[in-house]
Amino acid sequence: MTITIETQTDQPLLELKDLRTHFHTFAGVVKAVNGVSFKIGAGEIMGLVGESGGGKSVVGFSILGLIESPGKIEGGEILFDGEDLAKASDERLREIRGRDISMVFQDPMTSLNPLHTVGDQMDEVLRLHSNLDADARKQACIKMLESVGISQAEERLKAYPHQFSGGMRQRVVIAIAMLAQPRLIIADEPTTALDVTIQSQILKLMRQQIADNGASMILVTHDLAVVSEMADHITVLYCGQVVEQGKTRDIIESPSHPYTRGLIDSIPDPTDRMARLNQIPGNVPDIRNLPKGCNFRARCPRAQDLCAEQEPTLKPQHNSLVSACHFPLQPGEK
């Protein structure tokens, strides 16, 4: 058995330092992202995991500067290739969007403009981000469509989104995202809206595209099963904060945070038909009004008095794991 040694280059492709994105609503300040830090190296896939309302998508939109009023990046750094995107001008961000960092959205039925042809929506990326002439752009679009598995690509360029099925549309969205050969793809629940049979096709396609282009990816999802197949690293978010980080295998085999444990246990085991479907009791607390101490306390089977008093900070745990828990799980512990 060979032991792979983690090779972390000096400068990661993307590094988030204490990112805080808040939404100022009438009902109070929603701290959707509240001090999130992580690193992604070139060619790596990172899974960003958590329940709905955990702030996962907001992280993705923050990186691209697509947070809209009443939301605002309150602090922290978004270092992309050493450049802080949180302080970048709108103009600079527009250059980066689609060219260096692109996005794949959750619902392919709504992420394409129904009134423009697929070809036009692809061409738009190259018009913005390349110096190719019209013919070269068309060839590039055809090649890209073929590489995401759409046959008769030249014909299909003239088609409108409604003439494609959901899975095909997501292929088109991926083609658009990959077209300018970006170095980072942010995929926001890219398979959630698709049929199960299509899901694995799309995931395979994405992994292959990432590998072919040497790009990195942030895979935002609530589905740990998806992430465990795809990602090199996992960051688990809860209430806008990182609760656990580490290598995928370490996290899946033996998480240290009870929340991660709960998420893993919620994946149905296909081999055990009689097993009850596990769930994490309770709900995500009101993010405008977080409790004192640990945010997960009320739902945590290991909670003690200390958890109500003191907010846990991120500490190194076993293997590659880092987690924020006063009473972390030990290796092998259930």
């Binding site: 009023s69 959750q106 129904p114 009134l115």
Partner: protein, 321 residues
């Protein structure tokens, strides 16, 4: 496509036929036109003769049949008042009305679309609130009052624009058009602004509502994530998706203004159809009213047809069937 056109044409003919029935019935039950054509001291024999000459002694179905045949032949009869073909009377005045309405609609579009897009994209901003308050004024202020204020300010006080009339016109295929002369343009500005006010306000509010709706769509965010500029996101991706209701209202307003520009025409002494219609109604000048009503019906039917064609140009999911 061809099948659709044939079907559509039949539909339009059907609508026009129904209108002709309604127009005929209305005309038959509103006063006796014989008294318009005979002298005040006419004898009973003379009245009976006039009635015979006009065909009014025939039973209703026969009268309608004659009416319909002459409609189809384009023969609308002579105006009882002017002793000229009714069609000629209308066609002399139609260009004046149409050009004023077209200029008004262009004003309305040029102002309402950009402001509506802005207000829809930035619903919270102070400028948007100002625009929306302005549009509310545009809807609520009566046209005749605005027209009089404009005349008072721009014609009487400052003397920038003339207060009435059409100015010089130039002949174009036998039609007198004032848009072909500088003086005509000078004259058309005030009435066109007056006429455009309400339409501008309505189109603006429709555009804003549409843009607010579209702004929530994923494809807008996806376009931004592609690096598309704000302007292109709003106009290329947003507006195209928001414009269909605006096109619908635009078509209806266009027909409406052509048919009922009467008040504005009266205030600015604009020699259009509206004035003629009012006079004809007062004098029970049946042939002129008939031409007018049939023409208005035709205009609405044609505009609606064009609007439907425009839909298909905008949205590939709408097909001609």
């Amino acid at each position: 496509m061809f099948g659709y056109l044939v079907k559509r044409l039949l539909q339009m003919t059907l609508v026009l036929w129904i209108v002709s029935v309604i127009v005929f019935l209305m005309m038959s039950f509103t006063g006796d036109p014989v008294f318009m054509v005979v002298p005040v001291d006419a004898t009973d024999a003379e009245i009976a003769q006039a009635r015979r000459l006009l065909g009014l002694d025939q039973p209703m179905p026969v009268q309608y049949w004659r009416f319909l045949v002459s409609l189809v032949q384009g023969d609308f009869g002579y105006s009882y008042v002017f002793r000229q073909p009714a069609m000629t009377l209308i066609m002399e005045r139609l260009p004046a009305t149409v050009e004023m309405v077209l200029v008004a609609m262009v004003f309305a579009l040029v102002i309402s679309i950009p402001l509506g897009v802005y207000a829809g994209a930035n619903p919270e901003s102070k400028i948007s609130r100002f625009i929306m308050a302005g549009s509310l004024l545009g809807i609520s202020l009566p046209g005749f009052w605005v027209g009089m204020v404009l005349i008072y300010l721009f014609a009487v006080q400052w003397g920038i624009f003339p207060s009435s009339g059409r100015g010089d016109t130039a002949e174009f295929f036998g039609l007198r058009i004032s848009l072909l002369t500088g003086d005509g343009w000078h004259h058309i500005v005030l009435p066109a602004i007056t006429l455009s006010l309400a339409t501008t306000a309505i189109l603006l509010r429709m555009t804003r509502a549409g843009m607010m709706e579209v702004g929530r769509q994923d494809f807008m965010k996806f376009a931004k994530a592609k690096g598309v500029s704000r302007r292109d996101v709003l106009y290329r991706h947003g507006l195209k998706n928001a414009i269909i209701p605006v096109v619908t209202i635009f078509g209806l307003q266009l027909g409406d203004l052509i048919a009922f520009a009467t008040i504005t025409e009266t205030i600015f002494s604009w020699p259009g159809m509206g004035k003629l219609l009012i006079d004809s109604i007062y004098r029970a000048d049946r042939p002129v009213i008939v031409v007018y009503l049939m023409l208005v019906a035709l205009i609405f039917v044609v505009i609606n047809f064009i609007v439907d064609l425009v839909y298909t140009l905008i949205d590939p999911r709408i097909s001609l069937k």
